[in-house]
């Protein structure tokens, strides 16, 4: 009998042209929280897909043992049967259905063909209580915040009698409060004997919660460390294992000298499209100066994205407000107006709103600037190719050619394509919404450098970020949004995580 609840031995998984997993071994002890970290493309997701049966037995080499028994999963169902439950970044809940319907979806309570709702509701309450989740089983998923939805996912896994819970970036979309809550619940689950595999890019959380850390790099296991033992890793230690080098400076801060005011926003209010009584952005005023990076901090759902999208003409109904660019009043009713005026908006949802995944690098790069690349609406193909190649080179986009479809690029390279697309429109103000979400540390660093270059060239950058170190590390000034209102402004030299978080949660500066 092995003392590991889960052992994956010498896993090799190949895709056409790529060896995604190269002899990976991974061992998890019962009742621990085991963090799995690595850059994007290191093989974490592939490993989890092998574990859960998404990649069925036979499509990879190597062995999986659960409780010392070899397992050959052919379907997700097989792995669920031995108690493995995977909770993916994109939640697998049906938004139109209630909590209880979702909890037992596919394993409905009652007899064949007839659901016993009384039993289902009673059981649901039990699971919700275990997770200290105070919602009615009858509440619809779409009316719950993302943090609560995450907990419903976990409840669903528990309802399936999961013993090994795999969480893939569970806090990526959560605010600090919900993240903290999630972490404490995971600890409780651990104390009750649930084993947890925790995948995250947020190293702070990993340090806080993990009993053991395994680092993957380029499809190989780099090391497994006991976080309570003498080999305990700190943040720099994990990062150096992940990237294979010591990362001395995570944020390349360059001193900018802000010039005159370029963009002035005054009394900006936007109606909530879901609830006409509510203002999702409420009376916000701010300035952006030439040659600076303005950070926009706040919790998830504070209205930052909505504010920027509405400035860009792509969100909701504006109730009040004026916007001046270089002293000229702008009247923006659509993204087209905004682009013409010299604004650019890099969305937080790269795949959903930023790229046409089925198009190639060239077509995506030119999409927002076709007007400048065409005459009488006939595209100047040579110029288009020249510009696309120029950006592939200057942004160091790793792609076999500009004819590669962007869906085949890694997250970091996709993000660079989006950046190139907006740089091609020659913007005066570049709005970046979570510019480094879900991309690896190396690519992050490159994007920070690109931002600094742009500022150097006189572009104003407005950056929304939910990662506090990033906002504080990159911005010259930080404005903090709380529940649709501007709740304070900090200069970078005085901004600390504590101060910013205080403002973001609605506190006031002393």
């Amino acid at each position: 009998m092995s003392d590991h609840i889960l052992e994956m031995k010498n896993i090799v998984k190949e895709f056409p042209g790529v060896r995604a997993l190269d002899n990976v071994s991974f061992q998890v002890k019962p009742g621990e929280i085991h963090a799995l970290v690595g850059e994007n493309g290191a093989g974490k997701s592939t490993l989890i897909k092998v574990l859960s049966g998404v990649h069925p037995n036979g499509s990879y080499q190597g062995q999986i043992h659960v409780d010392g028994q070899e397992q050959r999963f052919l379907h997700i169902k097989d792995s669920e049967n031995v108690g493995i439950a995977v909770i993916y970044q994109e939640l697998g809940l049906v938004p139109q259905m209630s909590v209880v319907e979702n909890l037992f979806l596919g394993a409905e309570k009652g007899r064949a063909y007839r659901i016993d709702w009384d039993v289902a509701n009673t059981e649901a309450l039990k699971y919700l209580k275990e997770l200290r989740l105070d919602v009615s089983p009858k509440a619809l998923i779409r009316n719950l915040g993302i943090g609560k939805q995450q907990l419903v996912e976990i409840a669903k896994a528990l309802a399936k009698k999961a013993r090994i819970l795999v969480l893939d970036e569970p806090t990526a979309a959560l605010n600090e409060q919900d993240s903290a809550n999630l972490l404490s619940i995971l600890r409780e689950l651990r104390d009750r004997g649930v084993t947890c595999i925790y995948i995250s890019h947020k190293l702070g959380e990993v340090l806080e919660i993990a009993d053991t850390v395994t680092v993957l790099r380029d499809g190989k296991t780099i090391g497994t460390r006991d976080m309570h033992g003498p080999e305990r890793l700190d943040e720099a230690g994990i990062v150096s294992l992940m990237v294979g080098r010591e990362l001395t400076e995570r944020f390349p801060r360059v001193e900018h000298t802000p010039g005159e005011v370029v963009l002035q926003v005054r009394d900006w209010s936007v109606q909530d499209p879901e609830n006409s009584e509510k203002r999702i952005v409420d009376n916000v005023s701010f300035d952006v100066r030439k040659g600076e990076i303005l950070g926009v901090a706040g919790l998830m759902g504070a209205g930052r994205t909505e504010l920027m999208m509405s400035l860009f003409g792509a969100y909701g109904k504006r109730l009040s407000g004026t916007m001046l660019l270089n002293g000229q009043q702008l009247n923006i009713r659509s993204p087209l107006d905004a682009i013409r005026a010299g604004l650019a908006y890099v969305t937080e949802d790269r795949k959903g709103k930023g790229l046409v995944l089925g198009m190639d690098v060239r077509e995506n790069t030119s999409l927002a600037a076709l007007k400048y690349l065409s005459r009488f609406s006939i595209i100047n193909r040579l110029e288009e190719i020249r510009r696309a190649e120029e950006y592939v080179k200057s942004l160091r986009i790793k792609t076999p050619s500009i004819e590669q479809k962007v869906k085949n690029l890694s997250g970091g390279n996709q993000q660079k394509v989006v950046l190139g697309k907006w740089m091609l429109t020659n913007p005066k103000v570049l709005i970046l919404d979570e510019p480094t979400r879900g991309i690896d540390i190396g690519a992050k660093f490159e994007i920070y450098n690109i931002m600094n270059d742009l500022v150097e060239k006189g572009v104003c950058i407005v950056m929304i970020s939910s990662e506090l170190p990033e906002v504080l590390g990159m911005s010259d000034r930080v404005i903090v949004i709380h529940q649709g209102r501007l709740n304070g402004e900090l200069h970078w030299s005085e901004a600390t995580q504590e101060k910013t978080m205080l403002l973001a949660t609605g506190g006031t500066e002393k």
Partner: protein
């Protein structure tokens, strides 16, 4: 020396295998076309391949192919148009009535009918683009509305006959220049010239593209494969034209179709409008944030579809030399099937004009072959329905394999 040739040959094989693997859909539709041709040739004791029948087949293809050109844009843009059959009938009857009852000249009739098609497109485009009613519903309603309007307009009567100039749109052939000028079959010189021009044009553009790609350092097919491709496509073009060169010549409707294909291939590849349509279908949100005026483009798509439906109405009416209340019945099915057989994605954002034309040939071959075999119309419907399901299933399964 021999090693490098071996190396090149094996590289070519590799690329060929890759091409086969990644372009299953493109090859599949040609294989389907050839397979259908062989089956019907056997089943009809060779009648299917007779020059007379093949020429007929092309005439039958023309109106479905014209509709398919527009339908590619509609489906690539993420919509559907179920009303094309009714619009073909309605605009065709409108044209016939203008000429038969009111004595308008053919040119006037053509202009007014295309205009009517465009106006119908504006009507449907308005609801789809500006009132955000799904195209499925708007065009389903259009299918009823314009079928009803057609019956009301004709009063259930057949409207005939048309002037020779009008009939020529659907039945006529381009004239002979010097040889056999009085004959109705045999070598057709003008068609031969058109065929040569088409093949030469194709080779010229392939060479030009190859040189351009080389200059930018893009990957090109290795020389042997490139030559093979040129020879194969030129041979296919020649097969296509030889039918007409050796029979009565190229029909006017095929000339119209070829012009449309060239125009729309250009539009989809080289204009901002074409790019925008693919972007909207590929990712609507990204297109919106990139400053694309989705409403206006959607409207344009449906106006084009409407005008092309009007054109197909003219061709079809001219071919029958009459307008009837049942004209254009179920053309939407043939058209949509042709577009899917031609490799256009169900989900929008992907598809080609040329593919849809091949798809239209497949559908017309089915109609023609089953007609030759005297398959009764109820079984024809069943076969075509099954073909539609198979085409979409094939699209979906080949896409998930390649993803």
């Amino acid at each position: 020396m021999s090693r490098s040739i071996d190396g090149q040959a094996s590289a070519s094989m590799q690329i060929l295998q890759n091409q086969l693997k990644h372009n299953v859909r493109q090859y599949a539709m040609f294989i389907a076309l050839i397979g259908i041709g062989i089956i019907f040739t056997v089943l009809t004791n060779g009648i299917f391949l007779s020059p007379r029948n093949l020429s007929n087949l092309l005439l039958q293809t023309s109106f479905i192919a014209i509709l398919s050109v527009g339908m590619v844009l509609v489906i690539v843009g993420g919509h559907i148009d179920l009303s094309v059959g009714s619009i073909v009938g309605f605009t065709g009857a409108f044209a016939a009535i203008l000429q038969v009852n009111y004595g308008y000249s053919t040119l006037t009739v053509v202009v007014l009918t295309l205009g009517l098609g465009a106006v119908i497109g504006v009507w449907q485009g308005f609801w789809i683009a500006y009132r955000l009613v799904p195209a499925f519903i708007v065009t389903l309603a259009g299918m009823l509305i314009f079928r009803g309007a057609l019956i009301a307009l004709t009063g259930g009567q057949t409207i005939a006959p048309l002037e020779p100039a009008f009939r020529a749109i659907g039945q006529g052939y381009i004239p002979r220049l010097f040889v056999n000028t009085e004959a109705t079959s045999g070598f057709h010189d003008l068609s031969f010239i058109v065929a040569l021009l088409a093949i030469a044009g194709f080779i010229f553009f392939e060479m030009k593209t190859r040189l351009r790609r080389k200059r930018h350092g893009f990957s090109n097919l290795p020389v042997p494969l490139f030559v093979a491709k040129i020879v194969a496509v030129a041979a296919m073009l020649w097969m296509f034209f030889s039918v007409m060169v050796n029979y009565r010549g190229i029909p006017y409707s095929i000339m119209i179709l070829m012009a449309l294909v060239l125009l729309f291939v250009y539009i989809t590849n080289n204009t901002t409008f074409g790019r925008h349509v693919y972007a909207i279908g590929g990712n609507r949100e990204a297109a919106l944030l990139s400053g694309i005026n989705i409403k206006r483009k959607t409207m344009a798509i449906f106006v084009i579809m409407g005008a092309l439906s009007g054109l197909a109405g003219l061709v079809f009416t001219a071919r029958l030399n009459s307008a009837t209340a049942s004209a254009g019945n179920l053309f939407e099915l043939d058209t949509i099937a042709a577009v899917f057989i031609g490799g256009t994605s169900m989900r929008g954002g992907e598809g080609t004009i040329v593919g849809a034309i091949v798809g239209a040939l497949v559908m017309a071959s089915l109609n023609n072959g089953m007609g030759l075999m005297n398959v009764s119309s109820e079984y024809q419907l069943i076969v075509k329905g099954l073909i539609l399901v198979l085409a979409v299933w094939f699209d979906i399964s080949s896409r998930s394999n390649n993803a």
